[in-house]
Amino acid sequence: MSDLEDAAQRVQRGDASAFRIVVEATAARLVRLSARIMGSTSEAEDVVQESYVKAYRALREGRFDARARVETWLHRIVVNASLDARRRRARSRTEALADDVAVDGPAEATMALRELAGWLDELPDDQRAALLLQAEGLPAADIAEVLGCSEGAVEQRLVRARAALRKRRTG
């Protein structure tokens, strides 16, 4: 059993402090993934924090059935929360990303984050998520589990995402 699975079991038994192990092991990747979806690190931190609280509640209330790996399960929660937050933001277009440049560390990374989010903006959520999960190094089987589809569907989404980006470039 991995350290993460062990920590999750401890949380399920009531040891809240064990959740720190889960956070320390996954925060960097999850915030980066969410930031790539959102185009903003500060918004990603809010989304990931909210996701951790949801995950913690689920563990304490016995709603994590351990069929999935803890890390894959967390990826799923964060991807869904990030896509939801992105949709909410799109509905209320008033919130700009302008403050990110000042607060998000290296300007180069912030600009790249925004360029990436803008470039992938027109892709459907499932294709964008598949592309970014692949970029995180997740195998197709794990991406399929995160997105709740088959591995074949993941491959199809990746092909379609690239085709859409290509079409946009030539169109």
Binding site: V31, V48, D65, A112
Partner: protein, 103 residues
């Protein structure tokens, strides 16, 4: 076609590379743990139950309440029946006596 694909993969690789250093700020983990510690703690009994058992609890409580109500009603009916028959001879005894008189 190949050039276009190369362009796309190249741009994707460049942007992913440039955002590789993006991550949580140093205070992030402490912030998350503070939020976790602020979470209300569910009772150990309730938290320890599997989900299916949690669904079963209200159903079992309703069934138990219905059983108690039925038992109370049945006890009352039994009491009423007992009171109604007190002092009356049993039907079989009445029939035997009636039969003897006819003979």
């Amino acid at each position: 076609m190949t050039d276009e694909r190369d362009d796309i993969d190249e741009r994707l690789a460049r942007l992913l590379g440039a955002t590789e250093s993006v991550g949580a700020k140093s205070a992030f983990e402490a912030r998350v743990m503070a939020a976790i510690e602020a979470e209300p703690i569910a009772s150990r009994f309730w938290a320890g139950l599997p989900r299916a058992a949690k669904l079963f609890v209200p159903v079992a409580a309703l069934a138990a309440a219905a059983s108690v109500a039925w038992a109370v009603v049945a006890a009352h009916e039994l009491d009423d029946a007992s009171l109604a028959t007190q002092g009356e001879p049993e039907q079989s005894v009445v029939s035997t006596i009636a039969g003897a008189e006819v003979e």
